[in-house]
C-alpha cells in the first residue's frame, strides 16, 4: 500500500471517530454526519485512485457503473422516504451492507483456497454478513407490514441455538478441513441466511429497533473482519467503531424501553402468557367515552394543554394533523406543548424526528424529566396513540412487566383525553389503569381522522 493511501485512510479513520463523536450532541450532529461522510468519500476515492495494481479500463468502467448506480439508488431512496418509515429504511440499508460483506467473502474464498490463516476471516465475514443480511431483510419486511405475524416455531429458542451451534461447528470445519472447495462457502452462506431468518422471525414489532441496532453493530463487525482480511485499517477502525457504538446504542435503547437484550431476543415466548394472565387480572372499573365535539369544546376553553404523542400517532401518520391542531389552539391563546417520552414513536428518538418534520417549534418539545412536574397545573392532557409510556402501573404495580420504566405522569393533570383506536393493550400487552381513571375520557378512532375532525370542529367555534 502506498504511503499516500495510508495517509488517506488515516484521515478517514480519524474523521469517523470525530464525526461519530459530534453526532452524539444535538448542536453538532449535522456537522458530525458531514465529517463522517467526507471521510467515507475520501476513503473510497483514495482506494480507487491510489492503489498500486494493474487494472484494465474494463474493470474501472464496471466499478464506475456500480458506484453510479448505487449512488443514484441510495440517494433517491433517502430523499423520497417518509420519516415514519425510518426504522425499516435503516434495516434495509443495513441488510445491504451485510450482503456486501457476504459477496466479498464469497469471492475471496475462491481467491484463498487452502490458505488457512485467511480462511478464518473469510468464513467469519460470510457467517456474520449472511446472518445480518437475512435478519435485516426479515426486520424490514416486518416493519414495512409485509409480514404480519410474529412466527414462532415451537421451542424456537432451542432450534435457534442448535442452528447457531451447527453454524459455528460448520464454520470451524471449513477453516480446518474444507477450505479447498468453494461449494462450502455457498453452503455456509445458506445456513447463515437461515439463522438470520430464525433469529429475527419471532421478535415482535416494537422490539424491532433494538434488533436493528444489534444487526447494525454486527454489520460493523463484518466490515471490520473484511478489513483484517485486506489489512485495511480504515475498514477495521470504521467497522469496530460501529460494532462497539452500535452495541452501546442497543443497550441504551433496551434501557429506555425497560427491557434487557436477552429478554428481547430470547424472551418473547413464555413471557407472552404471563402478560396475558396479568392483563386479565388488572381489568377493572368502567371507561368513559367522549365525542369529538366535547373534546373540541374542552380544549377551546382550556388554558394549558399537553399533547402526548405515541406509536399510534406515528403509524396513523398524524404528525401533520397534530401540528395543525396545535397551531389553531395556539392562535386562540392556549398554551400547548408536546411531552416526548424517549421511546415514543416507532423507535427511540423517532417522535422528535417526526415532529421536527412538521416544523413544530423546538421549544414546544418537552422531554420527560422537564415536563413531568408540569402536568399538575395542566388543564388537558391529550394522549394520542400512546399507551405503555403513560401507564401508572410502571409506578405502582411491582408485578407489572413495565414496573420501573420511567413514564409521563399524565394522571396528575386535571383532565385526560386518550385517543386510541380500541381498548387493545400496547405492546407490553398489559391493561392500562389510566383508562379507568375518573379524570380520563376515551376518544376512540384513528389518530389522523380523529384529529382532523377535531380541527374542523374547532374551526367552527
Amino acid at each position: 500500500m502506498s504511503i499516500a493511501l495510508s495517509i488517506v485512510y488515516l484521515f478517514a479513520a480519524v474523521s469517523f471517530i470525530y464525526g461519530l463523536k459530534l453526532l452524539g450532541h444535538p448542536e453538532t450532529a449535522k456537522r458530525g454526519n458531514t465529517i463522517a461522510a467526507t471521510g467515507m468519500i475520501v476513503a473510497i476515492l483514495g482506494t480507487l485512485v491510489l492503489h498500486e495494481l494493474t487494472v484494465t479500463p474494463f474493470v474501472y468502467i464496471l466499478i464506475g457503473i456500480a458506484i453510479l448506480l448505487g449512488t443514484i439508488i441510495g440517494w433517491v431512496i433517502a430523499v423520497k422516504v417518509e420519516m415514519t418509515k425510518m426504522p425499516e429504511l435503516v434495516s434495509l440499508f443495513n441488510g445491504f451492507g451485510g450482503a456486501s460483506a457476504v459477496l466479498i467473502g464469497l469471492v475471496e474464498f475462491g481467491n484463498n483456497i487452502g490458505n488457512t490463516s485467511q480462511m478464518a476471516t473469510i468464513v467469519a465475514a460470510i457467517f456474520i454478513g449472511g446472518t445480518t443480511f437475512s435478519g435485516s431483510m426479515i426486520a424490514w419486511a416486518k416493519l414495512a407490514g409485509k409480514m404480519w405475524k410474529d412466527i414462532r416455531l415451537p421451542k424456537y429458542n432451542l432450534i435457534n441455538n442448535i442452528v447457531l451451534l451447527g453454524l459455528l461447528a460448520f464454520a470451524v470445519f471449513i477453516v480446518l478441513y474444507a477450505s479447498d472447495n468453494t461449494l462450502y462457502a455457498y453452503l455456509l452462506m445458506l445456513v447463515a441466511l437461515l439463522y438470520g431468518v430464525l433469529l429475527v422471525i419471532p421478535i415482535g414489532g416494537a422490539d424491532m429497533p433494538v434488533v436493528i441496532s444489534l444487526l447494525n453493530s454486527l454489520t460493523g463487525i463484518a466490515a471490520a473482519i473484511t478489513g483484517v482480511l485486506y489489512g485495511n485499517m480504515v475498514m477495521l477502525m470504521g467497522g469496530i467503531l460501529v460494532g462497539s457504538a452500535g452495541l452501546i446504542l442497543t443497550f441504551a435503547m433496551c434501557e429506555a424501553m425497560n427491557r434487557s437484550l436477552g429478554n428481547v431476543i430470547f424472551g418473547a415466548f413464555g413471557e407472552e402468557e404471563a402478560h396475558a394472565e396479568h392483563a386479565h387480572h388488572a381489568t377493572k372499573g368502567v371507561i368513559k367515552k367522549t365525542t369529538v365535539s366535547d373534546v373540541a369544546i374542552l380544549m377551546n376553553y382550556s388554558q394549558r394543554i399537553i399533547v402526548v404523542p405515541g406509536y399510534g400517532l406515528a403509524v396513523a401518520q398524524a404528525q401533520h394533523a397534530i401540528h395543525e391542531l396545535e397551531q389553531i389552539l395556539e392562535s386562540r391563546g392556549i398554551e400547548i406543548k408536546y411531552a416526548i417520552h424517549p421511546v415514543a414513536g416507532r423507535m427511540p428518538g423517532h417522535m422528535n424526528v417526526l415532529l421536527a418534520e412538521t416544523n413544530v417549534e423546538y421549544d414546544k418539545l418537552a422531554e420527560m424529566e422537564d415536563v413531568n412536574p408540569e402536568f399538575a397545573n395542566t388543564d388537558v392532557v391529550f394522549v394520542v396513540g400512546a399507551n405503555d409510556v403513560v401507564n401508572p402501573a410502571a409506578h405502582n404495580d411491582p408485578a407489572s412487566p413495565i414496573y420501573g420504566m420511567p413514564i409521563l405522569d399524565v394522571e396528575n393533570a386535571k383532565q385526560i383525553i386518550v385517543n386510541k383506536r380500541s381498548m387493545k393493550p400496547g405492546y407490553a400487552g398489559i391493561e392500562n389503569e389510566l383508562f379507568y381513571n375518573p379524570k380520563t375520557s376515551m376518544l376512540f378512532g384513528d389518530a389522523k381522522s380523529t384529529i382532523q375532525e377535531l380541527i374542523t370542529e374547532l374551526k367552527g367555534m
Binding site: V242, S244, P342, P348
Partner: protein, 102 residues
C-alpha cells in the same frame, strides 16, 4: 495453545488497536440523549457501509476474465454504496429538520 500464543504474538498490534477502538466507540456513544437515537443509528449504519472499500478492492484485484468474481464484486459495490450514500443522506435529512427550528 502454542498456536494461540503465536497468533497473539504476530497480531499484537492489531489486538491493541481493536481493544482501543472498542473503548473509543463506547466512550463516544455513552450518555447520548434519546432525542438522537434515531439519527445516530442511521449515521452508524452509514458508517458500517465502509465495507464498500473491500468491495472495490475485490473488483480491483479480480482477474478481468473472472466474470464470477467481477459479477459478485459489482453487486457488492452497488449494495455497499447504497448503504453509504443512502445512510448519510437520510441522516442528513433528519438532522436538517432538527436544525431549522432552532
Amino acid at each position: 495453545m502454542t498456536e494461540v500464543l503465536d497468533f497473539i504474538r504476530t497480531n499484537l498490534e492489531l489486538i491493541y488497536i481493536i481493544i482501543l477502538i472498542i473503548f473509543i466507540g463506547i466512550e463516544v456513544i455513552k450518555h447520548i440523549p434519546a432525542v438522537l437515537h434515531t439519527p445516530l443509528m442511521s449515521g452508524a449504519n452509514a458508517l458500517s457501509g465502509v465495507v464498500i472499500v473491500g468491495a472495490i478492492l475485490v473488483m480491483l484485484h479480480a482477474d478481468p476474465e473472472n466474470y464470477l468474481a467481477l459479477g459478485l464484486g459489482f453487486l457488492a459495490v452497488v449494495l455497499g454504496i447504497i448503504n453509504v450514500v443512502g445512510g448519510f443522506a437520510v441522516t442528513n435529512r433528519m438532522l436538517e429538520m432538527f436544525k431549522k427550528k432552532k
